[in-house]
């Protein structure tokens, strides 16, 4: 069974991936496609460009994207509606508290207080927002590649 076209679907849940376009974010949309012979659903990844002028979405965020009434460019067909889960800073929708996988942050802090906190430990409240180390240590906003030889040219995104 063939899935309806991604670029025409009204609402999608996408995973943000690196994108170099200005004012746009690229999203990886995973939908289940039925294999007619095995009668089994397999994930199919498609890429969608969404209009994001304030760059709300960073790589790794999970967001809802909505179809634009008219395409902005040939590729930008959707716009970012809402960031559902921020990368590294997930908020549990049921309780509204910050979580890290299977534990609440406040629980982790309480346990740490009993054991004794380290001075250099990472503190979420005092940490600056994501992006201050971009181009210095954080290279998630671009697609990096492995450098196999020194060509002499300065290539900051070659890891």
């Amino acid at each position: 069974m063939s899935l309806p076209c991604v670029t025409k679907t009204f609402m999608l849940l996408g995973h943000c991936v690196p994108c170099l376009k200005h004012g746009a974010s690229k999203f990886k949309v995973k939908r289940l496609e039925l294999d007619n012979n095995l009668l089994m659903y397999f994930p199919k990844h498609e890429f969608v460009y969404a209009h994001d002028p304030e760059k709300l979405c960073k790589t790794g965020d999970i967001a809802i994207i909505e179809l634009l009434p008219e395409k902005l460019t040939r590729l930008i067909t959707h716009k970012v509606k809402e960031v559902v889960y921020k990368f590294g800073d997930v908020t549990d929708p049921l309780t509204g508290k910050k979580v890290i996988v299977g534990r609440y942050r406040e629980n982790i802090d309480a346990v740490n207080k009993v054991y004794g906190e380290r001075e250099k430990a990472f503190r979420y409240e005092k940490a600056p927002p994501r992006g201050w180390q971009e181009d210095k240590k954080d290279f998630t906003h671009v697609e990096t590649h492995i450098k196999y030889h020194e060509s002499g040219k300065d290539d900051p995104y070659a890891v």
């Binding site: 609402m11 009668l39 659903y41």
Partner: protein
Amino acid sequence: MPFMKGVAPIRRTLKYLEAGRLILKDQIKIFTVNYNVIGKHHAGTKDFVFWYLPQIQYKNPHVQIATLKNLTPTPFIRCFYETGDQMIIDVDSKSKEEIYEHLIQVVGKTKGVLKAEAIAKEKTDNPANFGALCDRHCICEILGQVPCPATCPVPKIWRGKYKFQKVED
């Protein structure tokens, strides 16, 4: 069941897929299930995804179904509506049957709606049908049938009024 390899291959039979009971309301575009891989209170949701997700996706081919694992401590199901609303259903420590029944009650189309849709589909499907939602409103419009009594009256011998009550004109 040919090519029935793997864990619980019955999930891959047409009969099983067709037997799905949860048909999501038209407004729901995205259906996400959040759960952890380990955890006793997540076991019911994990089983729900294993058994019922193929059925739900089969009956709702236009809904994007996503499973997000290991994000939050408690499992939940989140539905995103076209209007922008969200429905969050807490499924902590619930069994797969409980979750399924609850979903049918809350986000599934009611039996009445499904019946009406089936009737509407049937009526538009078969061109030979006549009646309320079809091309021809009455049997008198069909070739070879008795013309409409509104235009040419039916012979008195055929009318029950004259046959049984012996009304003299």
